[in-house]
């Protein structure tokens, strides 16, 4: 391994976190006003949607694969304790060291301890959702350890002091020109500067990234990765990627630390057959991803000589205890649901205030933050409502997570918490309870319909209600939409008056 002559310069600005993101409607409003963001996202999601549909259509057995994927993951969730024990034994037997972390703080402390013990002052990282979830980068930097993201999009986010907005392509909200500007401004602060005269051509941008990263790959002694899958019976860990940066990190350094959520297991080697077909087609719309790195413990004289596997709970066993919500733990982080989501397409990922955006984030984040167990903050409680329940996410999910079903389930939990914590009911709760009371009998409904019909006659012009100001749902509707006025005579009143239309 080569050693750098000088330590890299420290970054000047702290990186942002999702803390302080307002509730979804507010965050979405700000995102919707950003036309550059709308254009970047609209273009990117439309492209990946079309490509995914094409490669999925090639497989006549796609539905069978989805069913198999869901069944294998359900088996994992059912037998999780035994499978995790089996994995630990297999990894240990192959020369790896297994650590258990109840939460983010424990996981971060374990990683920090391993890096310190190695004597290194920096780590290179393979793209990993689990380490973003626990905010490992921030934790390491606080301990004076530099962290270098090596996935291209992740590096763009890191260099730009930005937040990720997509599971697979965290810089999806950026276009080529924005990326060039970030490279020119930021690369030199943390290593090899961008080449002079850099254009926004993809090949030039990729070359700039390659040159910038190469010195970090060659210098690094510790790498941190996540895991796409871990095979319980062999102790094998699997990482899928497209750029080869992962392969560099997983083979060059002396010490490899892998942080994986406890649900990332598959029982046997053969189960990979299903997921290695489902994942690339769903996520990058490729028949096969360019790099699949597979390792079992350590191999003397080849690759990292120390391998640490950190098994992360961080709220997952709470999710597991919810019979409806637990299907979210089948997720293989493909991001197909983001790409088809009409809400995500317009607001982007940062509005969700979590490293897990989009439909899967709307069901995973509130659960990981404990919505089933204790009251959650307003931002978290707003996430299950960030959906029109159109169902496009369920259609594309490779492990058949019924996201709309879980959203509605979590809305119930959010409402029960709100009702339990508000001594005076909210306006919404009063309205919904009053509506339910009215709808309970046809008599009450008829009276309400007569009143609405009269109101409609007073306020409507040519049958339409226009621009009615007001707080809450009324104002929210009329800001951009008219509304057909309630009918002068309801259907049931007409039916009664005309004896089913026979006396009209």
């Amino acid at each position: 391994m080569t050693q750098a002559a000088e330590p890299p310069p420290r970054r000047a600005r702290p990186d942002p976190t999702f803390a302080g993101t307002p509730p979804f409607p507010e965050a979405a409003k700000a995102a919707l006003a950003n036309e550059q963001l709308r254009a970047n996202l609209g273009r990117a999601t439309a492209t990946i949607r079309t490509k995914r549909a094409a490669v999925v259509a090639e497989r006549s057995d796609w539905e069978a694969l989805r069913l198999a994927g869901a069944a294998i993951k359900d088996e994992v969730l059912r037998d999780l304790p035994a499978l995790l024990d089996q994995l630990e034994r297999a990894v240990t037997a192959a020369g790896g060291i297994v650590h258990w972390a109840r939460d983010a703080a424990e996981a971060n402390a374990i990683v920090t301890g391993i890096v310190r013990a190695s004597g290194a002052s920096e780590v290179v990282k393979v793209k990993s959702m689990a380490t973003q979830e626990i905010e490992l980068n921030e934790a390491l930097r606080q301990e004076g350890i530099d962290v270098w993201e090596t996935d291209l999009a992740e590096m763009i986010v890191q260099l730009g002091h930005d937040l990720p907005s997509h599971i697979l392509v965290p810089a999806i909200h950026r276009n080529r020109t924005e990326i060039r500007d970030i490279f020119i401004d930021e690369m030199g602060r943390v290593g090899r500067p961008a080449p002079a005269g850099l254009s926004n051509e993809p090949a030039e941008l990729a070359e700039a990234a390659r040159l910038h990263l190469r010195e970090k790959f060659l210098r690094a002694r510790v790498a941190v990765s996540g895991a796409n899958f871990a095979v319980a019976d062999t102790g094998t860990v699997v990482v899928l990627e497209s750029e080869g940066n992962g392969r560099m990190c997983l083979t060059l350094p002396d010490v490899l630390i892998t942080v994986m959520g406890i649900e990332k297991l598959v029982p046997t080697w053969r189960d990979l057959e299903v997921f290695l077909q489902l994942l690339p087609r769903s996520s990058t719309a490729e028949r096969m991803n360019p790099y699949t790195s597979i390792w079992t413990g350590v191999t003397p004289g080849d690759g990292p000589q120390a391998f640490h596997l950190i098994l992360l709970d961080n709220g997952r066993t709470d999710v597991l205890s919810d019979s409806v919500g637990r299907q979210a733990l089948r997720c293989i982080r493909c991001s197909a649901c983001l790409n088809v989501c009409p809400v995500y397409e317009r607001t982007g990922g940062q509005a969700y205030g979590s490293v897990y955006p989009g439909p899967i984030g709307a069901i995973l984040t509130p659960q990981l933050r404990g919505i089933a167990k204790h009251p959650v903050d307003k931002q978290t409680a707003s996430l299950p409502f960030a959906s029109s329940l159109c169902g496009a996410c369920f259609d594309v999910c490779p492990v058949r997570i019924d996201i709309p079903e879980v959203l509605v389930h979590l809305r119930g939990q959010a409402v029960r918490q709100s009702e339990a914590t508000h001594r005076i009911p909210t306006a919404e709760a009063i309205g919904m309870r009053a509506a339910a009371w009215t709808l309970r009998t046809p008599r009450r409904l008829s009276l309400a319909e007569r009143a609405a019909g009269l109101a409609g006659r007073v306020f409507a012009r040519r049958g339409m209600l226009r621009r009615i100001p007001g707080p809450g749902p009324v104002g929210a509707w009329f800001r951009a939409r008219d509304l057909k006025a309630p009918a002068r005579e309801s259907f049931r009143a007409w039916w009664r008056r005309t004896k089913g239309g026979s006396e009209e």
Binding site: P342, V343, V408, R440, P442, D482, P486, A487
Partner: protein
Amino acid sequence: MRVALFITCYNDLMYPEVGRAIVRLLRRLGHDVDFPAEQTCCGQMHFNSGYQDACIPLVQSFVDAFADSDVVVTPSGSCASMVRRYHPLVAELAAEQGIDAGLSKKVAAVSPRVFELTEFLVDILGVTDVGARFPHTVAFHPTCHSTRLLGVGDRPTRLLAAVDGLTLVDLPRSEACCGFGGTFAVKNADTSVAMGLDKVDDVLGSGAEVLTAGDTSCLMHIGGLLSRRRSPVRVMHLAEILAETGIGVDARADA
């Protein structure tokens, strides 16, 4: 056949002309139509907004109202999917909470007999040409719940294609959600409107005079945006088009 109509609460209140159109259509096809007066609402708004417990009495009323009906037809893919897919879940909740242990059995008896209009016409009656005449250019928006939850597929467009004089134009990105989404339309109004305006652009680009769908709720949202833009494009429920014969007083009296 004696057909019970489940008119749905918002059609009852806001769009009674849709119910009257179904009555005309089914009678023209030679069937008896009944409106069980005890019906109110399927409970979808409460179910989808997190007030699942408030649905229990609504589902109880629903199964009582339609207990004696052989077949129930509704002009809403969304409400039909609520009944067929989620009433069993509400009944489970009622049993869990010790409110009504017998509701599941009643739901299992009633909900499979509930059909969205196009399912009923094409699958149960076996007709695609209902004898309608509507000489206009029409775009069809396949609503999310009728396509993704119910799977009505091409039944609506087969019915429309058989309407005399009707020109069906292609709606670009037709499968994209219009952004209504029940209380989503007001809880996340900005996002809902952004989605709706994209739909409006596609509708205007299609060259249609009339936009139709199997759910008035989505049409209320898209129509509200069209109206705000002072667009001459009209929204009409599928039933209204299928009921038109071009003779007499078919056209909506109070439109």
